[in-house]
Symmetry: C2
Subunit: 471 residues, 2 copies
């Protein structure tokens, strides 16, 4: 295919490609800019056809540099700014990148000499270079390390074909209008954010960047700017609803979708969305599938509370005999960097990708995700998923945060126990009673253990493996 | 991928898949119906995995049978109802189809015993069969014989992947809304019509079938029914405009696009469309590319009169040294049936498909198609295209229809001469003067020859090869 950036510079030259609310670049300007930055990359001894690590916020500079890397045939390795320097360096070494480009405000004094600040790169005197003419679909466009709640992070290879197929499947699901404008408040170094950039490029769509998630500021944007879609996780959605509910003007008339990842929506939140006429599409996906591959439409949401929805048009899904969710999709990674057998180990003999998630399909083909296979607790022959128990306890008075893991038990094999963050001493009896009122008996945690804060990884996910070690 | 029909039966079970204005079928009903017809195919000794020829009008029966053939893993060979029986039989033998299914009102007494009427098939007592679970993208879904203005018709192989890529490229160009409803008045046995069926299946979109092009009836449909798009050729568009201009109510509020194939639009027609607020997307494509691969948006139309537009997102286009239009697109046929080298002969060493059309790209990357390489007249070193001359003479008083071909000439090598259909005896002097007023001197036909009617092929295209033989 033609280089997507050059293509959009021809197809939609004057359309705004990206804006941060202050500055904006058309597709034509972005392509010209990318050629200029490509020259600066070369002048900084960052050769074409190499991997380049990037440590960025959701800023215009990060966006422009990412586009220049893609457009000039370099592979982006997205690093997570929440990692420690030692963790960053481990990934930097693993991916054999020629350098790491770092947003100025993410610079750390202990970074090695090979790292370059954005401002240094963008101040380099250099002639513009031609961009790569073609994008080959099997070519690797980006690499993201899975945050992984267990084991060492692995670099997920994402090809242009993966991104293309993901964007098209999303368009078939959500529709596509000439005025689409997607607000990107999720990190561009995660697939949730980077997939918005790629959709922008493939659809010829405007991306509205925000540097951080500030619910009040974003409410104002959604009211006043022509944004049509936004990607959120449940926490963000609830914060935004709160601002809409306090005398805010409604979102602009073109707004049409909240794309929700990171777990299903509860009935109360759904009701609040309904009352505010905010349409929510729930979804399920992973770094390995270049974002969502299962989605639940707003219309089906009330009838299918707790479901992630149906596999998108180009995705095939089945449940294995041991209840694992298996996938085939053209958006699936071709593998992990430097780990030639890692994908093979996660693939069945029939070529199905094993997600590591456990779930069920109902009679209408809607997926219900129970949780991670690794986190499953088998107690007296029953399968128990921490996610379900934790969700129930979210509304229990006296509990600020909770995580459930399995503990070995002579009678039942395993039993669920809970780590609880609370402001007061734990009232275990009340907690147990609450559990018995809302859960099957065997799912009620046998113990409640106070903890100051739950251990989370750089992606914000609770590390149950750390909690299990505490037992 | 999952069988598209089964997939839409799950994703959009209650959405209307197809309607002829009287009856309608939801995707769920269509899938059930296809299983039933699959059983009837088997009961009529039409094995799975074979090719089945179809001779159909744009009726619900034709649509249902086509869906059943696709859904059950049989390959559709679309035959053109305008062919003589001898021509039909030549294609039937060439494609080695197990049978030919014929719409009752297209039945001819000289059809062989192997042919089956729709009513006979649909009256067969049989148990429903399961549909094929998967559609493999490289699998051939349909075969269409190119009408070809020269040479024997060749069966163009169209894979599921070709149709899928074509539909997605069209969606990226035209957008996609949940209420899309495409009126199909162009024949389903042509790619212009069949591609609407395939888009319906891929988008989960309603297809509104009409059996014939009756401009008044279609104007009424566009006014009163929730149709959002329609495929037309220039003749149809002009007829429809005439009905809109005579006191008609405007089209329904959801109508958004006329997709125009079969040649560019003139300035007068474009103005009429503008005044009626009818958005026209002009396009260029062929049976070998599964419909349009170049398109001109309504916004660009006025600035680019005569252009076919820009190559769609997934299509690459270049002009060869001898001005032939070359293509790369995932919608390109993998080849011709029983002619293993035919596609190779039309492909450059670098893998570009040679369209046989001559054209130019302007500085903004817009394509202007001059005409067929075969029809080009080289006169005194200048390239002359009959299409241009014919277009100019469309507005010349006293000329009803005109076709231009090259005639050998001692001085110039070749010169253009015109065959003219007229009500009065030809006024050659006036015609020549008209030409000199509107064309470069060397393009003015040297002779005007009266003819009762222009010879056309089954696709309605003028057969210039026949005219050349008359000289």
């Amino acid at each position: 295919m033609d280089n997507w950036l050059c293509k959009q510079a021809r197809l939609s030259p004057d359309r705004i490609a990206v804006t941060d609310g202050k500055q904006q670049l058309s597709f034509q300007a972005l392509a010209t800019d990318a050629g200029h930055i490509a020259g600066q990359l070369t002048a900084n001894n960052i050769p074409a056809q190499t991997r380049v690590a990037v440590l960025a916020n959701n800023t215009l500079a990060g966006y422009r540099i990412a586009m220049a890397l893609l457009g000039s045939g370099r592979t982006i390795v997205w690093l997570n700014k929440r990692l420690t320097t030692a963790e960053l360096l481990r990934e930097f070494v693993d991916c054999q990148a020629s350098t790491c480009l770092v947003a100025d405000d993410l610079w750390r004094t202990d970074f090695p000499e090979a790292f370059i600040q954005f401002s240094v790169l963008l101040a380099t005197a250099a002639d513009p270079e031609s961009l790569q003419s073609d994008f080959d679909l099997p070519q690797v466009a980006s690499i993201m390390y899975t945050s992984g709640t267990t084991g060492a992070p692995k670099g997920v290879l994402q090809t242009f074909g993966n991104h293309y197929n993901s964007a098209l499947a999303s368009a078939l699901n959500l529709g596509l209008t000439p005025n689409d404008d997607w607000l990107c408040a999720v990190p561009i170094f995660h697939i949730s954010g980077f997939s918005i950039m790629m959709r922008g490029l493939i659809y010829g769509m405007t991306v509205r960047l925000t540097e951080r998630f500030d619910a009040e500021a974003i409410n104002t944007i959604l009211v006043n700017e022509p944004v049509t879609a936004m990607s959120v996780v449940p926490y963000m959605l609830k914060k935004l609803l709160a601002f809409q509910e306090t005398n805010s003007a409604p979102y602009n008339a073109h707004f049409r979708t909240m794309l929700l990842g990171g777990g299903p929506i509860d009935r109360t939140t759904l009701k609040r969305c309904e009352q505010l006429h905010i349409s929510v599409v729930q979804s399920y996906g992973m770094t390995e599938t270049c974002s969502q591959i299962v989605a639940l439409s707003n219309q089906d949401a009330a009838a299918k509370i707790g479901s992630a929805g149906q596999p998108l048009f180009s995705t095939q899904l089945m449940i294995s005999d041991d209840n694992e969710i298996l996938l085939k999709t053209p958006a699936l990674t071709p593998g992990y960097l430097n780990r030639p057998t890692a994908l093979f180990d996660k693939t069945t003999a029939d070529g199905w990708y094993k997600t590591g998630d456990v779930g069920q399909l109902d009679d209408d083909g809607f997926l219900f995700v129970d949780g991670r296979l690794d986190d499953m607790i088998i107690s007296g022959g029953e399968n128990i998923f921490p996610d379900e128990i934790e969700a129930v306890y979210q509304n229990c008075p006296g509990i600020r945060d909770i995580a459930v893991v399995g503990e070995p038990n002579d009678t039942w094999g395993m039993v669920p126990v809970a780590f609880v963050v609370a402001d007061e001493p734990l009232d275990t009896l009340t907690f147990k009673q609450y559990g018995r009122d809302h859960l099957a008996h065997y799912k009620v945690p046998k113990r409640f253990i106070a903890i100051d804060a739950l251990p989370v990884n750089a992606g914000g996910k609770v590390q149950r493996v750390v909690l299990r070690k505490l037992l």
